[in-house]
Symmetry: C2
Subunit: 370 residues, 2 copies
């Protein structure tokens, strides 16, 4: 964060002689490392508002690389719905303005400060936990921000591993003690998190019931999700039956429900849950609230909870977070966890943004490639 | 349970000579104990339906007191809303028909089976956990059903300690780790559970915010609740403000909310809760569902759960249950936990039932005195 302010508030480079002096006082490695980052091209917004009108591509001047800093040449960063919401001003945690967009991504170490150990130019790194400002060609942040990942990881997956796949993994792990043979139910199943959930469930021997919207192409969507490992896929209208549990067949009543839609789609998740089950809400795509009967709480003993990724940004969970990321990247390298994405060069950012905003119909996840 | 069926299905007393033989084979104490209970007067229903039409007062024949049985002369038993709902057939757990009404109560040991130890005639006992059929003058059940309580306990409190005060205590203890100085918020605050909650909270140094209905007499109700220890009392209409938290003053944001109403009154509880707070639903007096926004789960990180007293009926929690009951009865004997009740002789059962059904306006808890 402080970095961007420095870029904006102090556009003159720091005093050359002092920076040269600092370099001379350090080791050969630090001496050979540049004390300043290259200039960067960035997607910046000066105020919250409609993302397609408030974001601009700008050139930012070089910034100093302090002794604990790492300068990373960004390789790829996605446009997530949460990035869009953050620019719109929906979230309670706000960056200071002006701000660079983006929250997760992957890059290659370009140069390091004199005190940095364990990272070398060419290493593949992700900010872990992520932080504001990945939509730019060079990012300078303290070493502690960067998590080195296996260089063989495809950059598209490394760029997108945190916000969606980690949400899927943590929701499967942190709320209900699921065992092989158990079942889960989710709505919004075609979303990237939804696709990760069904694949991670399948790897654990957990059955998944997946609810999707009624729309043209829902048959193709069903086949696609089944090929990823979904056990059952229903459109909302297919669940307009007296007792949804009559559809379960050999699948046990689910212990965990995942809701990113709200409204009727949330009610359907609740109907599937077994006594004592838990529904975790992590999104509200329909913009409708969740309505629950009293008897769901008293007789069915349901728990309704929420998942907020921000809670994994605390230092106390940093190691857990990194080991989860490594696990997910391993699955991705083995081809066991996949999803669609489309790369867009930075120059085409606004086209990719329009696609992410849904202006051009249903599109795969847009990932900026720098 | 088995006992009632025996009364109904086998109205002939068991074979006299075998029972005499059994008595002769045991100690002096068992020899002196009667092998048969007295006949009983009971409130019985043969089918579920409107309580005022399906319940009848009937005479039941004596039943055998087996070696582990205790025959208890009932002294008092309340008419709880849950008793009414059970007769109406609302609950998933149903007694077999015909059934004797009532679920909790207190009595005095009348006679004991030959193998019973630790209970003597004259002891004050409650069924703990409670079980179907306390609306009768004599009850015969196994010793393990009966929990001996201090003989100095007023019978009205001993008769009513389980269903409402224990619900209040367990909701305060089992969901959120409340500390002195913390706060809770509840709706339905004039209910018996509500009154217990505010008193138990006060004893622990926990502040209570109490929401009541708008109705004639709400000022008097407020004063009454404040005299019991309520910190703040609001009618629902007083909470039609932009930000209910502006009313908190020196009271911290509550960590625990208790909901027995649903609808708008539940939404008000949710509005008061602090980030990460929990709302526990234990009733739905308005018959309206609970509506929750997505952001309550994600950004406010609320948990919504339910309380079902039936879960305390399991043998694994029997000791916890008895120690909680003893704690509550101790507070009652010390005058620290009080509530209003009205005693009605068994002959006036149907008048007391009408009062409990709300046919005669707001009335105190009706307790049958045998």
């Amino acid at each position: 964060m402080a970095y961007y302010f420095c870029r904006f508030l102090n556009s003159k480079p720091p005093h050359k002689s002092s920076s040269l002096l600092r370099s001379l006082n350090h080791s050969v490695r630090s001496f050979s490392a540049p004390a300043m980052s290259p200039p960067a091209t960035a997607i910046v917004y000066h105020q919250e508002g409609p993302p397609d009108s408030v974001t601009k591509m700008v050139e930012l001047p070089p910034v100093e690389i302090k002794q604990n800093d790492v300068c990373v040449k960004m390789l790829a960063a996605p446009i997530n719905p949460s990035d869009i919401n953050r620019i719109q001003g929906v979230y309670p945690v706000k960056p200071q303005m002006p701000a660079v967009g983006g929250f997760e991504g992957v890059g290659e170490v370009h140069s390091i400060g004199s005190a940095v150990k364990g990272l070398s130019p060419g290493d593949l790194v992700i900010p872990c936990p992520p932080s504001f400002g990945t939509w730019q060609t060079y990012v300078v942040k303290e070493q502690s921000v960067w998590h080195k990942v296996d260089n063989r990881t495809p950059v598209g997956y490394a760029a997108t591993v945190f916000v969606n796949p980690l949400t899927a993994l943590k929701m499967l792990e942190d709320f209900v003690d699921l065992k092989q043979g158990d079942a889960i139910v989710q709505n919004g199943a075609t979303s990237m998190v939804g696709q990760c959930i069904m694949q991670l469930a399948r790897i654990r021997g957990i059955r998944s019931i997946n609810i999707i919207r009624d729309r043209a192409g829902s048959d193709a969507a069903r086949e696609k999700l089944k090929s990823l490992g979904a056990d059952e896929v229903y459109t909302e209208s297919q669940l307009e039956v007296k007792n949804v549990k009559s559809l379960l067949g050999h699948i046990p009543e689910p212990a965990l429900g995942l809701n990113c839609v709200g409204g009727n789609a949330a009610s359907l998740v609740i109907k599937f849950l077994r006594r004592g089950g838990t529904m975790v809400t992590y999104g509200g795509m329909s913009k409708k609230p969740i309505t629950v009967s009293t008897s769901s709480f008293i007789f069915k003993e349901l728990s309704l909870r929420g998942f907020y990724l921000q809670n994994f940004m605390t230092s106390s969970r940093a190691e857990e977070c990194k080991s989860s990321i490594d696990y997910l990247l391993g699955l991705m390298r083995e081809g066991k966890l996949t999803y669609d994405m489309e790369f867009a060069p930075l120059d085409d950012f606004h086209l990719a943004l329009d696609k992410s905003l849904g202006k051009l119909g249903s599109q795969p996840k847009q990932v900026i490639k720098f």
